[in-house]
């Protein structure tokens, strides 16, 4: 059983943290992952930086640009985390845009992920149909879970379709926005969170985009299984470095 599925069965609200690999410093990757696990985070999204991250807001854009300037590449990342499973046991997911994976070779990329012990991928610009037609077999062969997104605009029919083809969780985008642009959730989001919860989907939902602190984490997980923090953590890392990660996580729950 994939580590993601095992984690989803645990009886608590899950906290996932995203960070951009290569930021703030090129060699921070392993320290960030290890410190996050020690801090009690449930799973981790390792961001593979891209020059043109069109679903991301200013914070993750800037961290991506800096990471690339620092020399981060797909190959460098794989080298940095090649022994990560000797020290870290929580689920690890790579989140990145499709073009760098395509250039590495999708088959090669998946094979490498499996060797390292990566459990899943989130690729915002690889649409569901493209994935089903051309890449599903490759992902499955290497035991990787592909995570799909839904938004407040996603139709009921499409939500049910995405639920059907999901093997792990559904990444529930909190609002019509790029990453990092919310300060608090209002009634609109609460209604949406409840509407999705009432569908009783087979796949648990993890909420992302706009979660930055204990309050938004609590709101997001009122109905959903868990929530993901990205931009707020990236900002925190930039200001505080990798050694005080515990303080950030402790402030969330």
């Amino acid at each position: 059983m994939n580590r993601i599925n095992q984690k989803l069965e645990v009886n608590k609200k899950l906290l996932s943290i995203y960070f951009t690999a290569g930021f703030p410093k090129i060699n921070d990757t392993v320290a960030i992952i290890e410190n996050l696990e020690k801090s009690g985070v449930d799973f981790i999204e390792i961001g593979l930086p891209f020059s043109d991250p069109l679903a991301d807001g200013p914070t993750i854009q800037a961290s991506s640009t800096k990471a690339l300037d620092n020399g981060m590449t797909t190959e460098v990342l794989f080298n940095q985390i090649k022994d990560i499973r000797k020290t870290v046991s929580i689920p690890l997911i790579i989140m990145g845009y499709f073009n760098p994976m395509m250039q590495f070779g999708v088959e090669n990329f998946c094979k490498k992920c499996a060797e390292i012990g990566i459990d899943g991928l989130i690729i915002p610009d690889l649409p569901v149909d493209e994935y089903n037609d051309n890449y599903k077999a490759i992902f499955e062969k290497h035991g990787l879970i592909n995570v799909f997104l839904i938004t407040p605009q996603t139709s009921l029919e499409r939500i049910q379709f995405i639920d059907k083809i999901s093997d792990g969780f559904i990444y529930m985008v909190s609002s019509a926005s790029v990453t990092g642009s919310q300060n608090a959730f209002g009634k609109l989001q609460d209604d949406y969170f409840k509407r999705i919860a009432d569908l009783n989907l087979k796949s648990p939902q993890i909420v992302g985009f706009g979660i930055s602190n204990a309050e938004t984490f609590r709101q997001a997980t009122k109905y959903a299984k868990g929530a993901i923090i990205g931009s707020a953590f990236v900002k925190y890392l930039d200001e505080n470095g990798v050694n005080s990660i515990q303080n950030f996580v402790a402030g969330i729950r």
């Binding site: 891209f50 020059s51 043109d52 991250p53 069109l54 679903a55 807001g57 200013p58 854009q61 800037a62 640009t65 690339l68 590449t73 797909t74 190959e75 845009y97 499709f98 073009n99 760098p100 994976m101 395509m102 250039q103 590495f104 915002p124 610009d125 690889l126 649409p127 569901v128 493209e130 799909f148 997104l149 839904i150 938004t151 605009q153 996603t154 139709s155 499409r158 985008v173 019509a176 926005s177 790029v178 642009s181």
Partner: protein, 393 residues
Amino acid sequence: MSYFVDKKGYYGEFGGAFIPEMLYPNVKELEENYLKIMQEPSFQKEFQDLLKEYVGRPTPLYFAKRLSEKYNTKIYLKREDLCHTGAHKVNNTIGQILVAKKLGKTRVIAETGAGQHGVATATVCALMGIECVVYMGEVDIARQAPNVARMKMLGAKVVPALSGSRTLKDATNEAIRDWINNPVNTHYIIGSVVGPHPYPDMVARFQSVISEEIKKQLLEKEHTENPDYVIACVGGGSNAAGAFYHYLDDEDVKLIAVEAAGLGINSGESAATSILGKEGVIHGSKTLLMQSKDGQITEPYSISAGLDYPGIGPLHAHLYKSKRAEFISITDAEAMEAGLELCQLEGIIPAIESAHALAVFKMKKFKESDVVVLNLSGRGDKDLDTYVKYFKL
């Protein structure tokens, strides 16, 4: 072989819609409706009326006598430079603003590099009384001040793109992000045959008026609809798509796509995407694009701001791969000389983009009997500064 888009939004192996789920409803709404809307008689009437009365179409197909004598072949110039706002771009913005209205949208966004598409979008938004926001790289805002002023006069809000290299590709990213943030009331008018399906097809259809007119005009002048060659410059490729469109299946008409070599193909300062690019995904489309080995999109260079896009439309990637079109790259210097030559032989100041196409006559020998149609996509007023500096006028 088909050169038109298939049901899944592909041209051969290129195209598709590689978009985040956040954009799925917007793009789906457009995909399900654009053909239906474009085929409505009321749409066609309004579109054709505006092209005639507002844009000034049909644009002349002008026989360039002195240029023809110089290169010993028959050269016709399709005068898109005479369109309102100074380039072919307005054909597409007129079409898309009408689509936006039919879809009930109350706000329009656009990206722009040199500012031509931004001006053409601001123009039609003013015409229709629709709110307009144009994203433009901070670097481009600084070097294209007259077009920024034009957009502002036309009532558009110009928002600087501050991310990445702060040029056209980043302005496009910002426009896409805006669309993610405003999925319900906003239509995104993409300026070229790029982006996710159905944009490449929709923009090509709106620009296809160019080759539709060429066919009629050539029949009058040469007693045949088909020239031996059609030449057009390619950045994203919208003017070329329009000039090629009704000839794609006439294999006896040879198509020449002209890209910007910048300082030279191997100089590291170039925008010759077909030669330097590799297959990849940019702005929602699988196509050829300039990128690092690691898949990071690189910044192209050309003296012409309208040609320095790191990708090309998927139709053009397909024309390149299938060899239906010949791709020629032209350096800054070659283009500038060809631009000046047209001024002095024909009394026409071309946009530097179009000057790249004109430079083909120095690179390639045509037969005396050949009929060559060159799409003169825009006028050079916007480029005066560059011409003045380059030739120290």
